[in-house]
Structures are given as C-alpha cells and as structure tokens.
Symmetry: D2
Subunit: 267 residues, 4 copies
C-alpha cells in the first residue's frame, strides 16, 4: 500500500522511511532520562508528547515520497519550507504531454472567497481545457523544433501540466503539512494528495497517528472568549462526568478540566 | 520602555524593529489581492489571519533584541532554531565574573517531574551557590594566568554565569517562542525573559498582540474527545447565546459554532 | 534607485531594510567582545568575517522586496527556503492578463544540457507564444463566467503569466541567493532579477558588498587537485610578490600563501 | 565501526541512516530526467553535483547519531540549526557526575585570538579542575537534598559536565557541519567529535565522501585578487599540462581552466 494513485494521472509513492513509533519513544527517553523509565508505556508516552506539543521527538522519524502532481498543486506544496525536494527540471528534459483533467468542475464559493462548492460535469469546460492543452503543447513542440532552449519553450505550458518530485520531510513537519492540507479550506486537489500521504503515514507510525488524530486533526483551537462562554455554561462536575463516560483516563480528565476551568494562570 | 531589566543582573533590550501591524496587512493584501480591498479593516484582517493560522504575513515583521541571561537560560533559548544569533565568545574574550543569584529557591514539584513549586529564601543554599562561583572563577583566573587557552579555561565556569547575545526573529516565530516560554511549564527564569519580550512586542504590534492573546496565548487546544464531551452537554442555541452575550461579532460566532458542532467534515 | 524595472513588465522594489553595514559590525563585536575593540576598523572587520565565512553577523541585516515576475521564474526563486514570502493568490483574486514576452529567443545549448546560447528575434515564435496566451486567457475567462471556481480555472494559464510577491530575507541568505542566481548557469530571466536585487543590496551595504564581490562572487573554489597543480608550478616567493604587487595587505598575503602552500594540516 | 569513543568519556554512535550514495543518484536523476540517463556513471554524477554545488540531492540522505559530549562542546554544536535534536533534560533527571578531564592543556595562541597552540601536561591545572568539579557536584547534591528543584540546582554545574543527545541531520548539512568543525580554527575538542562523525559518514557514503574531500574539505576558496595574481604568473598551457599530469579527466581540466582564465564573465 505504499503506492497510491491520485487524481487522473498522479500518484504518491513511499520511497523510504527512517524509524517509526519506537524512534519517537527512543528520542524522548533520552530527553527525559531514567525519570520516565518506569510505568509509562510507549503509547502513553507518545500521546503525552503529542498533547503537550513536545515536538522534537517526532522530528526523529523521516519519510521520503515520490510524487506526481500538477504544477498548480506543486506550487502550493512547495510553500512548505521544512523539507528537501528534487523536481524534474524543464531545463534538462523535454516535459511530457500529461495534463490534469478533472472529472468534475467545482463552483466558485459565494461567501468564502478562496473556496469552491458543488461539483458538476461540464463538457464545454472540458473542451476549453483540452483546447488550451493542445495549443500549448503544440507551441512547445514547435518552439523546440525551431531550436529554442527548453528553459524558454516551457513557458507556454499551463499549470495543469504534471510534474514529478522527491519529497523528504520529518514526521513533525509532515503532520503540520497534513493539518494544513487536509483542512476543508485546502484546495480539493491537494487534499487528495494529503489523504494519500496520510494513509501511508498512518500505516507506518500507527501510535503517533492515533494521537495526532485525537489531539490535532480532530481537535480544535478555542479562543479565550470561546472558553469563557463554555465556562459560563458548565460546571467542572458535569464536564468531568461527561469526560469519564467517554473513557478518558484520569490524567487526561485532569488536563481537560484545567484547560477549561483554570490551573496555573498565564502571565 | 525598550530596555527591561530581568532577574538580578540580566536584561532585554530592543535593538531594532522592521515593520509593524501595517506590514502584516500590507503583505496579506498582496496575497488576497483586490478581493479583500473592500470593507475589512486592518484590525479585522489581522484577527482573521491569526485565527485561521495564516502565518506568513506575521513573518514580515522582524525584531532584534540584545539579551543578557544566565547560561542555563540561554541553553533553553537557543533550542529555537528559526532565529539569528550572535553571542559573546569565550574563545575571544575573558568572561566576566557575573553570576545569577536567585532571591528565592523553588522546591522540586511532586507530580510534575520537570517542574518546581513553592519558593523560599535559604541562606545555606545561597552560600553553596556563592562558594561554587568563587572556587570556579578563581580556578578560571588561575588557569588563564598559567597561559591555558581561554577556550579551555572556561570549562570550569558554572551554568549560572551570565552571557550576552543578539537575537533576531520574525514575529510569527517570536509568537511561537512566547507561547512555549510564557507557558506555566516553562522554567521560571526563562519566563521572566519571555515576559519582558512580550511587553516590548505588545507595544510595537498592538493589533497583532491582541489577536495573539485572544486566539493563542489565552486559548486552548481541545482534543476530539473533549469536543465530543462538550457537544453532548450543550445545544448550539445555548452556546450561540452565550457567545453573543460576550460580544463576539457574527462571523466569529459562526466559526465558534462550527468548531464545536460541525461544519464540513474532515477527511 | 529602489525601484528597478525587470524584463518587459516586471520589477524589483525595495520595501524595507533593517540595519546596514553597521549592524554587521555591531553583532560581530558582541561575539568577539573587547578582544577586537582595538584597531580593526569596520571595513576590515566585515572583510575578515566574509573571508572566514563567519556568516551569522550578516544574518543581522534584513531586506524586504516587492517583486513582479513570471511564474517560471518564481518557481525557481521559491526553491530558496530561508526567506519569508507572500504571493498573490489565484484562489482569492482573478489573475490579470499579463504575460512575459521575450524580445529575443535563446537557442538550446549543445554541450550544456540545461543552458542556452545565442539569441535571435523570431516573429513566428512570438506568434506561437501570443496564440497560447490568447487561447489560455480566453479559456480562463470563459471558465470563470461559467461559475467555475477561480482555484480551478487558473490551471489553464501558462507559466509566462506574471505574478507578484513580497520577499523577506536576511543578508547572508540573500548573498547565497545571489551567488546562485547571478551565476552564468542560472536562467537568463532570473539573472535579470538577481542583478536588480544586487544593485539595491550594493547601495545599502556597500562594505559588505565589496567583500562579497572580492571573496565570493568574484572568487572561485579550487579543488585539492587544482591546488596541487598550482603548488607544483609556483614558489611561495613568486606568488607572494605577485600578491603584494596587487596591493593586498600583509594579513591577506599570509592567508593566501597558507591556502596554497599549507598551514595547519587538515585532519 | 559505528560506535567511536571520543575524549575521555564521550562517544559518537550511529543510530540510523536513511539512504546512501544511491539515494543521491536517484534524486538527481529525477531532476535531470532522461537527459542524463546515458553514459554518466554514479560516481561521475555525484562528483558533478558536488563540484557544481547542486546540494539538494545530498539532502536526500539522513544520519542519526547518539552523542555524549561536554556542555561547552554541545554549546558550539547546537549553533547548527538545520538538524533535529533531543538532549537529556536536567529538569527531568538528576545529572550524573561525569566531567571532561583533558590529558593535556593547550596554550593561549598569540596572534589568533580565538585559538590555542602547544599542549602540555599540568598537574596543578588538573587539580584546579577537579576541585571545581567536586565543590560543584557536592553543592548540586546538597541543593537537591534540601528539596531545591532539579531545574535550579543544576545551575551550579560547570561546562565540562557531560551530557547526551540524539542528532539527526541530512548529508548536505552534515557536510557543512564537518567543514566548519574539522577546520583547524575549530576548537580541538569538537574537532575530535567531527572526526568521529567523518569516519562514520565516509564508511556509509564513500562516493559522496570522496567528492566532498576533493572539492570542499581539501579545496580552498580563492578571492578575485588571488585569482588575478595566479593568472599573471601562469599560462593556460602550463596549467593545463600540470592538471593532466595529475590525472584529471577532460571535463574537469576544462572547468579548472575556466575558473582561472575565464569562461563566461560574471555580471
């Protein structure tokens, strides 16, 4: 399951991994030393690290992917700077005639300026896209045949052209990438890549993934005012009871109560 | 107010700032273009960026500090890698006889393995500390007088020795530094430095600070299970009413409801 | 001179600078302390830092630019990760019909697979380019009119489309950017942007620029074997004489001799 | 050979590696595509990448070390920011009574303000060091026994105390670390660690190491003026002959001549 097709012609392929859940534990135990050697099991330690945002042990796991994606997706992807990357160079090689052609077209969202909503088939739109591809790729080839340098000729190619790259990133930064790119605000196309990566990551570091899902991906940041509103509507007792009923262990119940009802005041 | 004494002999001094609240707005408007030129005021735009974790515009403001702090504080400080730093070198110069001497001693916390609690004066402890300082600095001077290289002689000096450094960091990463170092889990001494920096930052980017305080510093990350517990205890109506009573604007009320009661499902 | 037109429709504009030559000196003096306070003048200190690759004081100066450039240039530019950036988003705004149209076309280089050579006008090539632009932009508008989301519609646009962004980077990393992008191997178009940035940087940190030109930009890295060949062809005496005749100060002559004829052996 | 003792009580131990020489080639081939598939062998490709400073493929190899070193060495080490690190925390655990005790003492260098020269045994100096260790560690224990928090008590400990940490870094950044820390200007103690790391790296990526040694470690950066002096003393013919006699292949001879006698002019 380390090769996952994405969109119409793209993919995510796992090339290599360094470490796993055990590497997170191993690095954390160096930091916390004999002091934690006792009862705490690996799963509990990883969960502790995740919910207290002790991020450095998660940097000790490294993933390397081979990805094929359209240029407009890659432009979003490479905004993440904490990674290593090698991409096909259009200066060295003639770029292949491979374009992303969506099955459905999404509508411009009304309220949300950056988003889209709904999705519909539209043959006319398909035709417009295909026409651009054909005119552009024909121009690309004509320029090359004239002897124009590849580095110049490529500028006629549209942003739905496929490219390929290697992507190497540690688990902490990969989680950050996923948080942003699995979010509903992310563009649908990059979300499909994020889902493929998520599937691979989950399979290789199941404990870290579980904690990530519980505390980050499935969690929410509440503002001071939102916490204040909740505080006015609930008592600690009723919240504590509800948390226990959901099976939270003692230490997590205590932490949850502290978040809502206090604990050491912030400066 | 750009020079703030910290601990017994340390300080934080602002050397230079590049930009301010207006630079955040300026950079954001490049990204979002004419699409946002309309009604949104600066304060609202900054708040939107902060609560949706659009962090790049905050990188457009840069602070440079001159800091004097004990070595054990500096060791924690320099774990932050997204900054530029120049520190006094004990290879080039003879280090001065200046040591941090706390007014009060804090007790080892019971449950929390990394923490401390309570604080008490203790002349015996003061004496132990001073004895180490004297023996160590005398040895340092004796080694130098023997002609031992400065780079070697310095290894007898204890971790409460004061050092000085320049620290340059952008506002996004500075907020991250503050979030970690103002937290109650941070060691008391570095928290005093964080508070001094916070005071300076607040004075120079008041709008960004206000949003940071509301959404990050004064906020909390709730896990999936905690959200589930809350969801079982409240109705959207009662929560909405409480949020409105606290004066939240319409768009923020909508967002708050979405966080707790849904909105587009995560993949 | 802080706005420089580049290519047919692009530009580089300086938005803000933090610090200057004096900031490099100021930060270096913290590191080296009273030990260097004596005779060394600013220019000599900056030159010393540059040629010994003491890079951290150069990080203490920060530049912020506003740039307008074609997408294929921006794709190369953003491979530099040690900077902060905000770019126009095609998800928020309708992108303008502005394309890079070269005056001359460059020929594919023979030996050098990534390069180009020669340059010629070619009306047919101009026509091919313009045809792609027209078909692509018409398709973009038609898709938008159909209600297709901006984030999708933009994928028909070609890589010679102009975009704009803010770019903030410290001087050390900016020098690194310039070294790579002023090099003859860099694509001609990005070299024009690098030259514009170089002009601005030179005007704001003239001393640092002078040292950068002498030791990095105008210098060369010689391999062990190349050094060995030179060593076999020259005597220290003859080289020393030549260096002196070019006006090098004593300390630099000594360093130059050490590079070629030895000095402390590497491990 | 993946565990190497360093100094009197320290060590460098390889924990994990991701990839090897083949990973550099693999990533480079993605970038340069079919265009380079032909004749170039792996060794030649790696050497090409190294001497043209195409650094990104070297980022595709990752090393993780476990290191035990004195605090003053670690303070220098952690100035490198492009790595991941987990260190023993003196807040969680009681630090062990282990101190670096040098066999020989080095003399303060005369001209070079940061350096040392000569080395001599000195029992008096040994005694001074040992006295500081004893007084400091006794004070540490006494403070702990009084109930003082570990995070405070540790501040009496001197900089020759040993600590341990995990260090994860990619090969490109590791080479940069080695270039700085194998240099004769680096402090002798950290140089011993760099040598141990160099030995391990060399064994795992022999081809990359060979190129690194030829082009970086054993090479030198010559300034514009130094190149000018050489140009005045040699003819291309005589230099070419000497290069050939040392067995340089054709393409490298051409590049070497270009560095000294021209080639495309810099802007």
């Amino acid at each position: 399951m380390d090769f996952i097709p994405v969109l119409d012609k793209g993919f995510v392929r796992l090339v290599e991994v360094m470490g796993g859940d055990h590497s997170i534990v191993q690095a954390a135990r160096v930091s916390y030393g004999p002091g934690t050697k006792t009862v705490r099991e690996d799963r509990a330690l990883i969960d502790y690290l995740m919910r207290h945002r002790h991020t450095s042990p998660f940097e000790m796991v490294e993933f390397k992917f081979h990805v094929k994606a359209p240029l407009f997706v890659v432009r979003q992807w490479f905004r993440h700077r904490t990674a290593s990357v090698n991409e096909i160079s259009g200066r060295y090689s003639v770029l292949k005639e491979e374009f992303y052609e969506p099955e459905l077209w999404r509508q411009q969202a009304g309220k949300n300026k950056q988003g889209s909503e709904g999705a519909f088939p539209d043959e006319e739109a398909d035709g417009l896209l295909r026409q651009v591809e054909e005119v552009a790729y024909a121009a690309y080839q004509a320029l090359l045949q004239k002897g124009v340098a590849r580095e110049m000729a490529r500028m006629v190619l549209p942003l739905n052209l496929y490219t390929e790259f290697y992507w190497k990133q540690d688990l902490h930064n990969l989680f950050h990438f996923l948080t942003l790119r699995l979010a509903p605000e992310a563009q649908w196309e990059i979300r499909q890549y994020a889902r493929a990566i998520a599937e691979i990551v989950k399979a290789h570091v199941p404990m870290a993934w579980e904690s990530y899902e519980e505390h980050v991906l499935g969690g929410q940041s509440l503002s001071r005012t939102e916490l204040m509103a909740l505080r006015g509507l609930l008592t600690p007792e009723v919240y504590e009871k509800a948390l226990r009923e959901l099976g939270l262990p003692e230490s997590r119940v205590r932490e949850a109560l502290e978040k809502l009802f206090g604990g050491p005041p912030r400066p």
